[in-house]
Amino acid sequence: MRETTQQEDFLRGIWRENPVLIQMLGLCPALAVTNNVENSLAMGLATLFVLCGSSLLVSLCQRFIPGEIRISAYILIIATFVTVADLSLQALVPDIHKALGAFIALIVVNCMILGRQEAFASKRPVGRALLDALGTGAGFSIALVMLGAVREVLGSGSFLGVSLFGPSYEPWIVMILPPGGFLTLGVLLLGLAWWQERRPDRIEASQRRQAGSQEAIAVAGIATSGRPTPTRGEAG
């Protein structure tokens, strides 16, 4: 496996391998609780806590865990931290706990967390694992807050509870309903793809290609049927 620098370990999760935006992991909480910024933030932080805690522990204990029960053991560790987080939130900020509902408990099954244990923490020294967990957790929180911001601004006309447009604003209720979650993330991904496609190197490549084919068509005087770029079997 390719070696990575410490900086990379941390930054990777924030952007290049952002769990939500790039890897599409942990989507359930990312969509379910992001109807406002406050909840998103709370969820992000709770997840960050669990992720760091369990990465730390998994990385510490990696030698003692037999391969066959690896998953069960990771889950046990994660679940412990989740229970701790659940109880603490309930004690400290009961209102937010109520708003997040079952999704605090569901951090246990956030694929992202288990994924980090499997792919990273279980094979790295503690420091590395912790950095990675911090990065990934931060990336997750950032994505959640982005989603939450869009949904709250459009769906309630406010940001962190502060009204932005005055009382006669017509909220787009759909944004805080389930379709709004899918939609916001979908649009975010479209924007991301668009942005990436506009990066100079890509533009050049695609222009070159297109120029070729278009000329071909123009020169041969072919009037009809542009063809779609073929999808080869396994799209998606």
């Binding site: 599409m24 992991l25 942990g26 989507l27 359930c28 909480p29 969509l31 379910a32 998953i71 069960s72 889950i75 046990l76 679940a79 412990t80 989740v82 229970t83 659940d86 109880l87 079952a102 408990a105 569901l106 246990v108 099954v109 956030n110 694929c111 288990l114 759909v174 309903l177 389930p178 379709p179 709004g180 979650g181 899918f182 939609l183 993330l185 979908g186 649009v187 991904l189 479209l190 793809a193 668009w194 496609e197 779609p228 770029t229 999808t231 396994e234 799209a235 998606g236």
Partner: protein, 192 residues
Amino acid sequence: MSELSWIFLSAMVVNNFTLALFLGLCPFMGVSARVETALRMGAANIFVLVLTSLTVSFLNAFILERAPYLRIISFIVVIASLVQIVETVIKKVSPTLFRELGIYLPLITTNCAILGLAIFQTNRDYNVFEGLAFALGAGFGLTLALVLMASIREETELADVPSIARGMGLVLIIAASLSMGFMGFAGLLSST
């Protein structure tokens, strides 16, 4: 009886686990490229959900009565272990099935739908039968969403989708559309 059917329908269409409650999205995104696989994943999910529901009823009744704070952890450990056992068995019995669902079999364990079912069932104090209706509704709802999504995705594979929408962007927008469609079922059987 009508209570049971409401639970079933509510979990299946009104509050569809995937499209309205956002549970089990990872497999929904990952395993919905082919109708075939989607159906299998759905079947596997129904199976695990029912298994979970029974397990949870049992745990709640006999073990966790005294220690409700151990719910999350016990549920997940028990479910994860059960699925892992099932997985090991399937790997042996039907390698093809195993390959088809590949990495997602273990992911069923770490699928929000499963634990979500356990938690909702507990919070709502469902008895065994209500729990089963709930699990079946949730399972069929998941399967429905998966299969719809898969058949649409197969269709769009032949379409001239703009490059920026290829992949998950389009999938999410389809999910949003489906989710809006399912809003039509809101209030089903409760409006009188």
